[in-house]
Symmetry: C2
Subunit: 301 residues, 2 copies
């Protein structure tokens, strides 16, 4: 049975779903509720945080006391390309960095509605390039993201390959959202188990994100259409109860068919990006521990 602590993730999504359909909700309160996303993650402790604009975007160094100084996780937060921030995801990437024994650099890429595809992709790639320019070796960098940030990790590697940049050592993906056509069967099959991520909520996010005329089949926005041959090792995690499960499964299958070293772990009774409950929920801590033990040798740790 899902832990009491991990149930907090589902309860949060239930509240979000109620808010979506509440026409009387004060817009300011909507913003504040978005910030309370961070509340489901426990403070990881023993981790330092320092904001920087040096990558050309607002970013935050997340430095566990025990971190190897030359190993980096580039963190791309989720939020459907409309939300999420350095502050909502600070603790999640703190837990991940601490488990792996690396620093994390969490970057605030440009978001809808002001910016659309490919702005987030460009910001992700330019931050990765900045890390390389700072002297971090590609084989010592992992990319990690949740939901839209997970998809962005994959498209960032595609774009880095186009630019002839050396590719990172590994991808750590939490419920990656990759299918901009919304064709995963789990979108319907898990509809009753997943209180929030339903077609009628996600489709407007797609329309917004592609509003500069990009196709939902463009490989740089939908990696299910990309050639993933030569891709770095990839560890995909998803919750069994989320509508996005199919995206995770199909991405893993697509990468495996291209010969990529892929691992897919599906967590029973868990929701979309359940890892956000890190520090409280044993399922989230287990998931991050699996990421860490898989990633450490791939980062030479």
């Amino acid at each position: 049975m899902a832990s009491r602590q991990s149930a907090a993730v589902r309860e949060m999504y239930v509240r979000w779903a109620q808010e979506l359909t509440d026409p009387d909700l004060d817009p300011q309160q909507r913003v504040e509720n978005g910030e309370h996303w961070a509340d489901i993650t426990r403070e990881p402790r023993g981790v330092d945080y320092s904001e920087t604009d040096e990558p050309g975007r607002p970013a935050m160094w997340i430095t566990p006391k025990s971190a190897a100084p030359d190993r980096v996780i580039l963190g791309l937060h989720g939020g459907g390309f409309v939300g999420g921030s350095l502050y909502t995801h600070r603790k999640l990437f703190g837990h991940l960095a601490k488990a792996v024994g690396a620093k994390a650099l969490l970057v605030h890429y440009r978001l809808n509605p002001e910016y659309h595809h490919p702005a987030p992709l460009h910001d992700a790639v330019s931050t990765y390039r900045w890390l390389l320019e700072q002297g971090y070796a590609a084989e010592h960098i992992a990319l990690s993201g949740d939901s839209s940030g997970g998809g962005l990790c994959v498209t960032a590697v595609l774009r880095a390959r186009e630019l002839d940049l050396p590719l990172p050592a590994a991808l750590l993906l939490m419920s990656p959202w990759v299918d901009m056509e919304l064709t995963s069967e789990t979108l319907e099959a898990n509809r009753e188990k997943d209180p929030y991520f339903r077609r009628e909520f996600i489709q407007p996010l797609v329309d917004l994100h592609l509003s500069d005329g990009y196709s939902p089949k463009d490989p740089l926005v939908n990696p299910l259409y990309a050639d993933l041959a030569g891709f770095p090792p990839m560890f995909v995690q998803a919750g069994a109860d989320e509508t996005g499960l199919g995206d995770a499964q199909r991405l893993a299958e697509h990468a495996k068919a291209a010969g990529v070293d892929v691992r897919l772990d599906v967590f029973p009774e868990q929701q979309h990006t359940f890892q956000m409950a890190a520090g409280y929920a044993p399922e989230a801590d287990d998931a991050l521990a699996r990421f860490a033990s898989w990633a450490r040798p791939r980062l030479g740790l």
Copy 2:
């Protein structure tokens, strides 16, 4: 009328009061709920956090990007000498430090039930002494604390005076708890307005804290019995609806009678340490702004 956001403070205390009387509450959940105290404070943004053991106790440097490097607020968190941590109060002192334009050093002093008076006092004073040893001038240091941490600021200055240390420039006190005899009239008068801080909850904290045989009239644990002549300027804030209002008022009167430069601001319809809602509640932000404009000239800023 109290803002929607500040009502979150009261709602939290209502939940805590329910938990106090719930015999079935899982002890682990009680610990987790204590950590969720931090949820009522918004991320201040533009503030860096770095943990350190250098003062001889676990501590956290809280450094706003805009902070003067040689001005420090020594932060002593609340929690009735049994709770609170670097993590519950990180954001509160981040807001305060940012408003003042100084760094903050938040220290985790020893707590009950393992340690009693005078352990917290010794840790507070040794941390203050460490700051002086690092070269921070006393006239560039403010002490600030909430609830038990507020009382501890006052007793730390008393103890520093006994030790012939130079005294800090100012005290910024949020709902300071000073009366270990629990004789403030507001303890009864505000009982119906304050859902949590009632005699039957506070008395056991006193008993625990003084369990090594100290008197509740000892000036080093109850500054209402101390000679405050020569004390640094003191700004005391309290909520009009809290049972602890009398402690704040009596401390301010006692200091004023001793010739201390004292300011007391009482915030209508606010609860104990309502400043914890900083970033969300306008009343909390107003309170911290008042602290800042009062403290800046006293710190030479």
